[in-house]
């Protein structure tokens, strides 16, 4: 800046002038004064939590820590789900409840001996040559529970089952599995399909 310049006509001149402004040197003794003052302040120290938090912010470690944290979080969630499942009350609550209302039209009646329920499975399949029931009560083996054809293509089978929760499907012609279309409850079979669910609750008096 050896001569007067027109800062108003060219902004770059102003930028240059700002860059070239003389730097102001600190007065003698300023550093000593600052250091003396700082000596009177207790030494800072990071808390353990602060160090832990900072570790996640180190650029080099950021992604590794984030990945590890995600894996840990996932593991915790899976374990939590298992824990919740373990603590869930059993599927067969106690108490006298109407069975007929639970499983129509596949009907169950409360047995007089208290050992099991007489369950009637009913399924309409006009064109079927054979229909069976496969479920958790017979290890999903349709051969162990063949149904009998009645009038109008109505297939029927009665089984005595102890109280509990069962999943089942009807098996048409030995190869086509169909969940009970009239079941009150269904749940995933884990393979993209669904099973019908039958709950037989303990009854105290019939």
């Amino acid at each position: 800046m050896k001569e007067r310049v027109d800062f108003t006509s060219d902004p770059s001149l102003l930028e240059e002038a700002l860059r070239e402004m003389a730097r102001d040197a600190p007065p003698a003794g300023l550093e000593a004064r600052i250091l003396e003052g700082i000596a009177a302040i207790p030494a800072p120290r990071r808390s353990i939590w602060s160090r832990f938090a900072m570790a996640f912010q180190t650029p080099a470690a950021t992604w590794a820590y984030r990945l590890a944290a995600l894996i840990l979080l996932g593991a915790i969630l899976v374990n939590l789900r298992d824990l919740v499942a373990l603590r869930t009350p059993p599927d067969v609550p106690e108490g006298p409840e109407s069975l007929a209302s639970l499983v129509p039209p596949t009907a169950a009646t409360c047995p007089s001996d208290g050992c099991g329920f007489l369950v009637t499975f009913q399924f309409r399949a006009d064109e079927a040559a054979s229909v069976s029931v496969a479920g958790t009560f017979n290890d999903w083996d349709p051969a162990r529970a063949p149904m009998v054809r009645g009038e109008n293509g109505e297939w029927r089978l009665q089984l005595i089952l102890p109280p509990g929760k069962y999943e089942y499907q009807y098996v048409i012609d030995g190869r086509r599995f169909v969940p009970d279309p009239e079941a009150l409850e269904r749940q995933s079979d884990g393979y993209g399909g669904e099973n019908a669910v039958l709950r037989l609750k303990r009854c105290s008096s019939v």
Partner: protein, 194 residues
């Protein structure tokens, strides 16, 4: 950065030591950054004593809060940010007592004048003093942005970090600061042909 003998790794190492409780490691930090901080404060504030006090206060705050420095920004950006805030506070205090204050302390940046080019130096000094005066007339946030960008040679990104604003806001502040400074220079008669 305009002034600096230590590289970023050395600074980061010293900061880490101070964060672990090693107080003496703060001394080289003070020696390294006192000149640029003073230069900044001196141009942000009108008095040399105010500037010295601001730098001192900035270092106290930095030392006290150094555990909060997380290393995501460069240390000097963080330190400049503290200094700018201290200068804002000092500027507000000074503004309240402006009428009772002594005339501005303008003489400190005086440079020794040689026998040769004395007139040239005088002219240069007059322009600089006029520019300083104009700079003090623009709003403090814009002044801080201009000083960090052009005097301390920070990148726009570093200016944004120091002022704790976004990149676009930093660009805008620098641009508006230049426009404001240009207008003040024009009003002060600094524009026009020689």
């Amino acid at each position: 950065m305009g002034v600096g003998r230590m590289d970023d790794r050395e600074v980061a190492m010293l900061v880490a030591r101070v964060q672990e409780g090693d107080a003496p490691s703060f001394q080289p930090i003070v020696r390294e950054f006192t000149p640029p901080l003073y230069n900044l404060a001196r141009k942000m504030l009108s008095g040399s004593e105010d500037a010295a006090d601001a730098v001192q206060e900035a270092f106290y705050r930095a030392y006290r809060d150094i555990a909060k420095f997380d290393g995501r920004t460069r240390f000097f950006s963080w330190l400049y940010g503290i200094c700018v805030n201290v200068c804002y506070d000092a500027g507000k205090r000074r503004k309240r007592h402006l009428e009772r204050e002594a005339p501005l302390d303008e003489g400190e940046a005086a440079q020794p004048e040689g026998e040769e080019n004395a007139l040239e130096r005088l002219e240069s000094r007059q322009v600089q003093e006029a520019l300083r005066a104009c700079l003090r007339k623009i709003p403090a946030p814009q002044r801080a942005a201009l000083l960090l960008r052009y005097q301390e040679d920070l990148s726009v990104d570093e200016v944004a970090q120091a002022l704790d604003i976004g990149l676009s806001a930093a660009k805008m502040r620098i641009s508006r600061g230049l426009s404001a400074l240009q207008a003040v220079c024009r009003d002060s008669g600094m524009g026009g042909s020689p």
